[in-house]
Amino acid sequence: MEANAQMEQHSEAIVTFDNVVKRFGDFTAVEKAHFEIGRGEFLAIMGSSGCGKTTTLRMLAGLEDPTEGAIYLDGEKVNGKATWDRDTPMVWQSLALFPFLTVQENVEFALKMRGVGKEERRQRAEKWLEKMQITEFANRNINQLSGGQKQRVALARALVTEPKILLLDEPLSALDAHLKVRMQAVLSNLQKDLGITFVYVTHSMSEAFSMADRVVIMSRGQIEQIGTPEEIYREPYNRFVAEFLGSANIFDGVVQGPAGADGWQVAYEGGETILPKSELPDGRQGQKVTFIVSAENMQLSLPDSGQPGIEASVAGEEFIGGTAMVFLETAGGQELKVQKSHDELSLLNLHAGSKVVVHWESGSCHVLPGENK
């Protein structure tokens, strides 16, 4: 599988998905998932709604059984093993805290189910309440807590058995932006301190990319790419990933012939560019090639500068902190985006409808391997 080729080899995997398929009736929710999760790794599973993230997590937790394939947990095949016999606690999207128990009782729950004695339960729960800084709420009812406090209770409750792996299903989706960032830091530090494996499901790119060691990108049950955030950002595997990340311009071109010793001359609608040979080692004339140029690697010039490139007109602008994303439209109707600092843009003095020339260094082109097989 493509995903396989990109799979980073971890010396020791705590979880292995071996061609796992999950069907609900005729509907395939997860298709041939094949990957490993390293011990102590922070893995994020990202994708749009309904792509099978939760189903993947639930199979790992033992709440759903795979239709095909095998899941190994700590070297043991766990297909058919009940969730209560695994130690794969989950932090739920709905949090699923017990409303009829106090904070302390919620945290003690997993220990109680395992038959741990009262005194030991109390001590171990208190340790986690303290770690999550919610000791003062120990005797409160769940519905007397704020969103962030509930979040911490859910974490303490899941971690109280000191598991080797923690599963998190969009735990921060209900929080406001500010709290989200704070909880991201809490989670990140927690994972580093404990050194345990986190499997974190989210549909937020910023959450996945800021916290995870590796990211799995899913779409409609398929794994599209697995890699570190840098890898995925710089070298998206296919059109879906590039579009999902939303920061690159995608071009469909045709190889015209060699350009010098280490490049290919490629024509696309509206212009020509040179692709480095390293991106397309076994190219040949007439081959179709899909490549991307990220928005921040695009250059803008005024038409009278004589710079060769694609002519386009400005459609609009969007502020992104210290930079702006300029949206352009070419004569051929293709939409392009270019990210530039405000200073640079003010020199060009652009407004809606302005004509510009877009160009880039050949080194900033990246061929999408998944589209060029």
């Binding site: 709440l63 209560w84 606690p89 017990f98 009829f100 997993a110």
Partner: protein, 264 residues
């Protein structure tokens, strides 16, 4: 609020007033006459008296009926609530073909006319040599009351986040532990409400009990016996007490069903 229609408002208030009047006037009347010294209910009232209460207090027949009622009521409440919980949890937990048919069947008994129910019960219970025993009343009332319990508990379970159950399994609780430590605690207010309501229904139920009770009459059946014998203000006294106990049970149930999350 400016957009309320005055006439509709007035009519609604009138409607409520009439309802209350028709429901409570006879009860209030019987309560007033139960404390009246006159033998026949007539105006003007005679002197204030607790004579009739003293008489029923001293009547062994009333005590016997009352004891039967309490024994039947308590047993029925427990049985019906257990059955109702089972039905409600089955509905919550499992999906199977024919489930809606099963639910319709389980909730059916209250819609059967009581006379038919009573006759059927009598026919059946006498076949198995149980008619005329306290057990027969318990069986008949159990059948009639469990749908109420099921409806109440089902409503509560439908408010439960299904993730709670899965979370409990995920934290090492097997199905039994989860039932005991998650489902039952969550449904607890509804379970108590079901106990009180089924007890109240059994207290008040007359027709079926009349068919199957034989010599072990419950209080409502006893009251009919009194009425057939002679008209006595004792009936008013018993009625007032029965009303008080039923109301207490229903109010307790209502309090329990009122957003249980608020208290703890």
């Amino acid at each position: 609020m400016g957009n309320e229609n005055r006439i509709i408002n007035l009519l609604l208030k009138l409607h409520i007033a009439l309802c209350l009047l028709f429901i409570f006037a006879p009860i209030a009347g019987s309560f007033v006459f139960s404390l009246n010294s006159d033998r026949f209910p007539s105006l003007p009232l005679g002197e204030f008296s607790t004579e009739w209460y003293r008489l029923i207090w001293e009547d062994p027949l009333v005590w016997q009926g009352f004891a039967n009622t309490v024994v039947v009521g308590l047993t029925v409440a427990v049985i019906a609530t257990v059955l109702g919980f089972g039905g409600a949890y089955t509905d919550f937990r499992y999906n199977f073909t024919g489930k809606s048919f099963y639910l319709a069947l389980a909730l059916l008994p209250p819609t059967i006319p009581v006379v038919i129910m009573g006759l059927a019960m009598l026919a059946f219970l006498s076949r198995v040599n149980l008619s005329g025993t306290t057990i027969s009343v318990i069986i008949a009332h159990g059948v009639m009351c469990s749908p109420f319990a099921m409806a109440i508990i089902r409503l509560r379970l439908s408010q439960m986040d299904p993730d709670l159950e899965a979370a409990s399994w995920n934290m090492g609780g097997n199905q039994w532990q989860t039932l005991r430590y998650v489902i039952i605690p969550f449904a607890k207010p509804a379970i108590f409400a079901a106990l009180f309501i089924t007890m109240a229904v059994s207290f008040d139920e007359f027709a079926v009990a009349w068919f199957v009770s034989g010599l072990n009459e419950t209080l409502p059946v006893k009251i009919l016996g009194f009425l057939q014998g002679q008209v006595s203000p004792r009936i008013n006294a018993i009625g007032s007490l029965a009303f008080l106990s039923s109301m207490t049970l229903i109010i307790l149930a209502q309090l329990l069903l009122r957003s249980p999350e608020d208290k703890k």
